[in-house]
Amino acid sequence: MNVNIAAQINSVLAALILLTAFGLLVQRRIYGLLHIFAWQGLFLSISTAIVGYTAGLHHLYISAILTLTLKVFALPYILYVLIHRLKIHKEVEDMVNIPTTMLIGIALVIFSYHLTAPIRELSTLVTRSTLAVALATVMLGLLMMITRKKAVTQIIGFLALENGLFFAATSATYGMPLVVELGVALDILIAAFIFGIFFFQIRTTFDSLDLKEMEKLKEED
C-alpha cells in the first residue's frame, strides 16, 4: 500500500469521522448515539492503524488497539449497561433545534479549516489535511455538550471530543509518544469509571439524569 493510497483512505476515514460527528449532533435516539459513537471509534482506530502502517510507527498499533477496545467496545458497552440499568428515556431532547445546530456545525467546520490552513502548509505528513477534521470534531463534540440536556449525552459529547483530540494527535503528528498515549487512555478509563459512579449518584439524588435538576448552584436570586 503506497503512501498515496493510504492518504486517500485516510481522507475517506476522516470524512466518515466528520460525518459521525455530525451524526452525533443530530441523532435523537440514545441508542443511536451509542452506535454512532462506536462507529466513530472504529473509524478512528482504523485510521490510526493505517497511519501507523504507512509511517512505520509500531506504537501506533498499540494506540489503535487501545482505541478499539476502549472506544468501540468498552465505553459504548458501559454506557449501554448504564442506560439500561438506569432506565433512561430513549429520546434525546435538544436545547437548540437540529437545523440550527447543523448550521452552526458547518460554520465550525469552515472555521476549523481556516484555522488549520497555516499548519497544513507547514506539515509534510500524509495526514496533514485531516487536522481540520480533527479540530472540527473537537468543536462539534463541544457543541453537542452545549446543546444536549441529559447527563449521558453530555458524556457522549465529551467522549466524541476526546476522539477528535486523538484523531488530531495521529493526523498532525503520527501520534504522541507512547507514554502519553497510554496515560491519556488511562485517564479516559478512570473518567469512564467516574461518570459511571456519577450516573448512579445523580440518579439516586435527583431521580433523573436530566441536567435541569442541576441548576441550583448559581449566583442569581
Binding site: L115, F158, M176, P177, V179, I197
Partner: protein, 482 residues
C-alpha cells in the same frame, strides 16, 4: 532518590489508605505520608539549591527553581491540611456526614491528588503534565461529591464536565506543540520534553505555537479558574469537604497556573511577541474584576473564599502576563503566599462552619468570643488575603502593582477597582462573623490549631522577611521565565 520518595510516598500512601482509610489510625497514616513527602521535598529542594537544576529518570523528571518551590509548597500545605483534616473529618464522621467507605475514599483520594500534583510539577514531559493534571481533576471530582447532597453532586458534575472539557483543549494544545516540536526534533519523546523545547523555542513555528497557546490558555485556564472559565470553581469549593477546598484553592490552582506559565515561556520564545502576555493580562484583569464583584453578593462562606481565589489567581496571571523581573517575581511570590493564606483561611472557615453547623455567613457570628483561635485566625487570614502587611500577600501585590504602574498603567485603575471591591466585600462579610456576641446555637469545638498557627507564622515571616534562598530561587525562576 529524593525525587522518587516525593512521588512514591504519596502513591503508596494512597494505595494503603484505599484499604485502611476508615480505621482509627488512618488520619495518622495520612499525616505521616504527607510529612514524609514534605521531608523528601525539602531534601530535593536542598539538592536543587546546591547543585542547580537537575534532570532525572532519563530526562523524564526535571527539577528547577520554578517547580521545586511549588513542590515544597504542595507538600507542605498537604501536610498541614492532613493535620487539619484529622480533627475536621473526625467531627464530620461523628456527625454522620461521611460513612466508612467515604472516609476510605477520602484518604486514598487525598493522597492520590497530592501525587498527581507533584507529578505534574516535577515531570519534564509536557504530555505527562497534561495527564497528571487530568488525574488531579479526576481524583478530586468524587471528593467534591463526598457528602452526596444534591448540591454536592451537582457541583461535582460541573467540576468534572467543565474541567474535563477544558483540559481536553489543553491536550489539543499539547498535540499542536508536539507537532511544532517534531519538526525540530523528529519523532519521539524528545519533542515533548520541556528542557529540550525551551532550548529551541525560537526555532518552533510561531503560528502553530500561538494557536497552541490559545488551547493551553483555555484548557489550563479553566483549571486556574480564570473568568469566564471559572464557573466550576465556586461550586466545587463550597460543596466539598473543607480540607479539599483548602487544597483545591491552595494547590491545584497553582499547579494549573504553573502548567500555563511553562507553556507561555515556550510560546513567547517562539513568537517573539508579547501577545500571550497580553492575553494573560486581560484574563487576569477580567478575573479580578468579576471575582471582586461576585464577592459582594456571597452568602456562603466557602463560596466567598472560592471567589477570592479566582481573584488572586487573576492577580498572579496578570503578573505573569505583565512579565518583567519584578512582576514575575511578584507573581511567583503571590502563588506561594496566596496558597498558604488561602488554605489557612479555609482551615478556620471549616471550623467556623462546624461551630454553627452551617456555611451561611449570616448565621455565623461572634467567632472571637466563641473560639478566639478560629476568630482571630479568620480575621488575620482575611487581613492577609486582602493584601495588608505584614503578611506575605502584601509583598507580592506591592511588587505587582508597582510594576504594573510602570509597564501597564492603563490597566491599573481596573486592578485598583477590583482590589478595592474585593477588600470591601470580604471585610463587610467577615466582620460580623468575627466580632460581636456569640449566638446561643454556637457549639464548642476543638479546633486544629497547629496548622493555623504554622500558616500564620509562615505568612507573617514571608511578609516581613523573605529568606534569601527563596528570593534566589525566585530570581532564578524569573530568569528562566524571561
Amino acid at each position: 532518590m529524593a525525587l522518587l520518595t516525593v512521588l512514591g510516598v504519596s502513591l503508596i500512601a494512597a494505595l494503603i489508605l484505599a484499604f485502611v482509610g476508615d480505621r482509627r489510625y488512618a488520619p495518622e497514616i495520612n499525616i505521616f505520608g504527607s510529612a514524609a513527602t514534605f521531608a523528601a521535598s525539602i531534601f530535593l529542594a536542598l539538592q536543587v539549591y546546591y547543585n542547580g537544576p537537575m534532570l532525572a529518570g532519563h530526562d523524564f523528571f526535571f527539577v528547577d527553581a520554578f517547580n521545586v518551590y511549588l513542590s515544597v509548597l504542595t507538600a507542605f500545605v498537604s501536610m498541614t491540611t492532613a493535620l487539619f483534616s484529622r480533627r475536621y473529618m473526625r467531627h464530620e464522621r461523628e456527625h454522620g456526614k461521611v460513612g466508612r467507605s467515604g472516609m476510605r475514599f477520602y484518604h486514598a483520594m487525598f493522597q492520590l491528588f497530592i501525587f498527581a500534583m507533584l507529578l505534574a510539577l516535577l515531570t519534564n514531559n509536557v504530555g505527562v503534565l497534561w495527564i497528571s493534571m487530568e488525574l488531579a481533576t479526576l481524583s478530586t471530582v468524587l471528593l467534591v461529591s463526598l457528602y452526596r447532597t444534591p448540591s454536592a453532586v451537582e457541583a461535582a458534575w460541573k467540576y468534572f464536565i467543565l474541567c474535563g472539557v477544558g483540559i481536553a483543549q489543553a491536550l489539543f494544545g499539547t498535540v499542536l506543540l508536539y507537532f511544532a516540536a517534531e519538526r525540530v526534533f523528529g519523532e519521539g519523546s524528545a519533542g515533548l520534553l520541556w528542557t529540550n523545547l525551551s532550548q529551541v523555542s525560537d526555532k518552533l513555528e510561531p503560528t502553530v505555537l500561538s494557536l497552541a497557546f490559545v488551547f493551553f490558555m483555555v484548557g489550563y485556564g479553566t483549571k486556574v479558574g480564570l473568568v469566564p472559565l471559572h464557573n466550576w470553581l465556586p461550586d466545587a469549593h463550597s460543596e466539598g469537604p473543607t480540607p479539599i477546598s483548602a487544597v483545591l484553592s491552595g494547590l491545584l490552582l497553582n499547579v494549573a497556573l504553573y502548567a500555563l506559565v511553562r507553556c507561555k515561556v515556550l510560546v513567547d520564545g517562539a513568537t517573539h511577541s508579547h501577545k500571550a502576555g497580553y492575553i494573560m493580562m486581560v484574563f487576569g484583569l477580567v478575573s479580578i474584576m468579576v471575582a471582586a464583584f461576585s464577592l459582594l453578593r456571597q452568602k456562603d462562606i466557602k463560596r466567598m473564599f472560592a471567589y477570592s481565589s479566582i481573584e488572586h489567581m487573576g492577580i498572579a496571571t496578570f503578573a505573569f502576563g505583565l512579565g518583567g523581573p519584578i512582576a514575575t517575581f511578584g507573581a511567583l511570590l503571590h502563588m506561594l503566599v496566596h496558597s498558604l493564606t488561602k488554605s489557612s483561611i479555609f482551615f478556620t472557615v471549616g471550623h467556623a462552619s462546624q461551630m454553627h453547623s452551617t456555611q451561611e455567613m449570616s448565621k455565623i457570628q461572634g467567632l472571637i468570643r466563641g473560639n478566639p483561635l478560629v476568630g482571630w485566625g479568620l480575621m488575620l487570614g482575611v487581613i492577609a488575603i486582602v493584601g495588608m502587611p505584614p503578611f506575605g500577600v502584601f509583598t507580592s501585590e506591592f511588587l505587582i502593582l508597582t510594576a504594573a504602574m510602570k509597564d501597564a498603567p492603563y490597566f491599573t485603575p481596573f486592578f485598583l477597582l477590583g482590589l478595592a471591591i474585593a477588600f470591601a466585600a470580604l471585610f463587610r462579610k467577615v466582620m460580623p462573623m468575627v466580632f460581636g456576641k456569640a449566638p446561643d446555637y454556637q457549639r464548642r469545638l476543638k479546633a486544629a490549631h497547629i496548622p493555623v498557627f504554622v500558616h500564620m507564622a509562615v505568612m507573617l515571616i514571608l511578609g516581613l522577611y523573605l529568606p534569601s534562598f527563596l528570593s534566589e530561587w525566585f530570581h532564578t525562576a524569573v530568569r528562566l521565565l524571561k
